[in-house]
Symmetry: C2
Subunit: 174 residues, 2 copies
DNA sequence: ACCAGACATTCCAACATTGACAGGTCAGTC
DNA sequence: GACTGACCTGTCAATGTTGGAATGTCTGGT
């Protein structure tokens, strides 16, 4: 039930259309919670039905702008202050590492090197964003900046780990 | 389509029953790819139908042991050597950080401190596992060891980030 | 006046995942 | 001899997620 709350959170900042929200997902949010367009529009309809958001205006090209309601704000707040903290994550890229031993040593290290390279590239991309965005003191923007920094540190750690893992594989695999 | 490959990978090491595989998921694999029991049994049935695995023996209590077939090995290999590398991941815990600004500063920092604490605990758990497991030179075990190290480094990075983020929130949030 | 490309929404089939329920067997211990 | 806890499998409904197709509108540039 995270997507609905992600949408509520975005709308808590300011009203937006499905298309606007989609753009936000493609840029900043994609890093921690990817979502497709079809899912976003569907969820917006449900949230509207449930009274957590409402239509606050319409525009050209069939545009419909949604705003969060008081009920929506309450729901968002409840979600954010829930006691449980879900550290779980899924990574297909790491899952594959588990089975690298079924390949030859060369194939295995090639995979890890690719892993390192991709993380290095992502690191560069994120750092470029950090250094080029104009940081106002806006609270919502600060939160985005924290996540961005998480991505930067995470990518760096992943890259270093992949280099280390390549060495280990070279040393320990027959 | 990662679960089916995870099962193939585990069976590539040695034959196992659904129950055995479930245990492997609960312990090592849970870190990178959680799966429920219902999903595992269902997927095993499909893999068996598709000829990627086969029943290699039965035991007490209705136990059925599956082994990977040549077709299964080929499929696993193909998956592992696919060109695309999917770095995407989902984290509900990080998603919440995006919306911390809607809470008071105290509530926000409390969340991040909890985040730091949980990662510290996970770090301790993983280090304990690393230091207590008897590491033979077994290839499959080495792969598990690499992942474990990833978890350790990732937890450490996450904890440090959360401490840093707590400071930032304290400084920059009104 | 035309066109490309961004804007904007809707619908759908297929697949993945969760959470719960339901059933039964065997080994060791009190 | 009864009980507990680990072993072992199966199924279902509901929900979440993906990927694609279809449709139409407005804006800016040539």
């Amino acid at each position: 039930m995270s997507l609905r709350h992600a949408l509520l959170g975005l709308l808590a900042e300011k009203p937006a259309s499905g298309y606007d929200l989609l753009k936000r997902f493609e840029t900043s949010l994609a890093m921690v919670w990817p979502a497709q367009q079809s899912q976003i529009y569907g969820e917006l309809a449900k949230l509207n039905e449930g009274g957590l958001i409402e239509i606050t205006g319409t525009g050209a090209r069939n545009r419909r702008e949604y705003g969060i309601t008081d009920a929506g704000r309450a729901e968002l707040r409840e979600w954010l202050t829930e006691p449980g903290l879900d550290l779980a994550f899924r990574s297909a890229a790491l899952l594959r590492v588990f089975f690298l031993w079924t390949l030859t040593r060369e194939e295995g290290t090639a995979y890890l090197e690719r892993f390192a390279r991709e993380n290095r590239e992502r690191l560069a991309t994120l750092e470029a964003i950090r250094d080029n965005v104009e940081w106002t003191g806006d609270p919502a923007q600060i939160a985005g900046w924290l996540i961005l920094e998480y991505g930067i540190r995470g990518s760096r750690t992943a890259e270093e780990w992949a280099r280390w893992a390549t060495e280990q594989l070279t040393e320990h695999l027959p």
